[in-house]
């Protein structure tokens, strides 16, 4: 029964993906990557929510709480929540930059603003560095979700099947497929989490008991305490709340207007109201299923215990959809960045074809990495953010800071990424401060220092200073 429901959800999502292309000319690259910048607030909300609440939410968060208690739980909730106020102010400007330069990827924006090939390529490579752990995260989650159904498919098989489905989503419809599927997925995910949370609280005899039982086994799991754990939680919340804007650039470009983007952000925090239920379920798992070898399986172990088979199928289906959907969006980003920023000067048809080849390679490589080198999921999230957030000085340069030069930003970007690699792989002790934050500081210092020396600034005004009417004129003169 669980398998049947699960299968039905996957089939429904494939149908939605296929229908998404109806009546649209997806052969055009702009249509394929940013849906002709046409999405209403409604679709934008679902695509955004669909991409933000990845399988990291359903598998990674309970796993993190199970393994590390409130420090990980609060970090995860806090950064997403604060990302919305940041997005409310920055996202409309990102959209404006996208429209002004006809951009479909963030490196596109840099290319047009700075006319620096070096910076464009450095930014594109940073995107790849971020997109690899992010996809591993989805694959790792999918293994857990499929494993929970209990028909004993091996992790490699699950990974390969997942890659095939994600590929099928976008091959026909480009970015319209994930937008359509995300409506189904967002509703299922919300429903599934609320059900598991309510059942878990009921089984324990009330919310209070859930936390009491967890505290008996692990007294420190209910608070963050002081010292390094607190430093880690706070610095990571702030760092990732700002890094988030970089993660979300691909779907900001699909919006219809600045006002649409801005309005959409107002309502985003409300979707988070599912989290209390997820937290209940995670703490339930601490006491109900102690000593799990794989913390990532915490939510599903609790679900198998608590739910009838058909509901289990629903929960696993919702989790799988969220992973697949994001793989699809990530694949599009990879394809877009490769075909437009690494190998430009191709015709539309070739760009689209190369996009599809790149997507295939990307899915194969990340699937292989996931099978060969499994990691705790929240650590993959951190790693992805360390990289992508290094693009912040570049974004600020485009939006606000006229004084940053192309060479300065490029140098900062390289130093920032180097510091990330150094600190991450040497496991240096930095007192609990988020290492991405340290890398970002180094990045900023270098950006400013080099910008003072090498003054190849952009001749264009920062995006935030230009109003719409000027943008139009600038566009007219370049076209």
């Amino acid at each position: 029964m669980a398998t049947l429901i699960f299968g039905a959800i996957i089939v429904a999502s494939l149908v939605l993906a296929f229908l998404a292309a109806r009546g649209r000319d997806v052969l055009q690259i702009e249509e394929y990557l940013v849906a002709g910048r046409s999405f209403s607030g409604f679709l934008l909300f679902f695509l955004a929510v669909g991409e933000i609440y990845s399988i990291g939410t359903m598998v990674g968060l309970p796993g993190g709480i199970y393994a590390n208690g409130a420090t990980y739980g609060i970090w995860f909730l806090g950064y997403i929540l604060l990302a919305y106020p940041v997005g409310y102010f920055l996202a409309p400007l990102v959209w404006r930059a996208g429209e002004r330069y006809g951009a479909m990827t963030f490196p596109d924006v840099l290319k047009s603003h700075y006319r620096s090939r070096l910076l464009e390529v450095a930014a594109a490579l940073t995107f790849f560095a971020y997109l690899i752990p992010w996809a591993q995260l989805q694959f790792a989650g999918l293994q857990v979700a499929l494993g929970a159904l209990g028909f004993g498919i091996s992790a490699p098989t699950a990974t390969i099947v997942a890659a095939l489905i994600a590929f099928a989503y976008i091959i026909f419809s480009g970015v319209r497929a994930p937008a359509n599927i995300s409506i189904l997925k967002d509703i299922l995910l919300f429903g599934a989490i609320v059900i598991v949370g309510v059942v878990a609280a009921y089984a324990a005899g009330g919310v209070s008991n859930v936390f009491d039982d967890a505290a008996q086994l692990n007294p420190s799991s209910l608070s963050i305490g002081e010292g390094q754990a607190m430093t880690f939680a706070l610095s990571t919340i702030v760092f990732q709340a700002f890094g988030f804007i970089m993660v979300t650039t691909p779907f900001i470009f699909t919006g219809r207007s600045e006002a649409t983007v801005k309005r959409t952000y107002i309502f985003m925090p409300l979707y988070m109201l599912m989290y209390p239920f997820l937290i209940f379920a995670a703490y339930y798992a601490i006491s109900a299923a102690p000593d799990l070898a794989q913390p990532n399986t915490a939510l599903f172990v609790a679900s198998v215990d608590l739910l009838p088979p058909w509901l289990l199928g629903l929960v696993a289906g919702a989790a799988a959809l969220s992973g697949l959907l994001i793989l699809a969006v990530l694949s599009l980003t990879v394809g877009g960045v490769l075909s437009r920023n690494i190998t430009p000067n191709l015709t539309d048809t070739y760009q689209r074809r190369l996009t599809q080849v790149a997507v295939t390679v990307y899915l194969i490589v990340t699937a292989a990495l996931t099978i060969l080198a499994p990691t705790l999921m929240l650590d993959l999230i951190s790693l992805a953010y360390f990289f992508v957030t290094q693009l912040l000085p570049a974004l600020f340069g485009v939006l606000f800071v006229r004084q940053f030069s192309a060479l300065g930003i490029t140098a900062g970007l390289i130093v920032g990424n180097a510091v990330v690699l150094l600190l991450h792989f040497s496991q240096a002790d930095i007192g609990g401060i988020n290492l991405g934050l340290i890398a970002l500081l180094a990045n900023l210092l270098v950006t400013v220092a080099v910008s003072v020396v090498a003054k190849n600034r952009s001749s264009l005004a920062p995006v935030a200073e230009s109003r719409r009417s000027e943008t139009r004129q600038a566009e007219g003169s370049t076209v």
Partner: protein, 74 residues
């Protein structure tokens, strides 16, 4: 700035202060309860800055933008 500063100060400050305590509010550990509360309050802050400050600017631009787009298409 209503929308940006207030949620940041409240969430970061709140977690810093409340994170060390263990007591509960309606059965939920205080630090979680605080963050849950801000799911709703952040929306309130953002809605406030939209209706009080930003709405007029952005909707005017949207209207003129669409007008011009229509012209270009003709």
């Amino acid at each position: 700035m209503v929308g940006l500063v207030i949620p940041f100060v409240a969430v970061v400050g709140g977690v810093a202060v409340l994170g060390r305590f263990e007591f509960r509010v309606v059965g939920i550990p205080i630090v979680y309860f605080w963050v849950f509360l801000w799911f709703v309050l952040t929306t309130v802050c953002l809605a406030a800055s939209w209706y009080l400050f930003d709405r007029k600017d952005f909707e005017d631009e949207e209207a003129s933008g669409e007008h011009q787009r229509a012209e270009r298409e003709i």
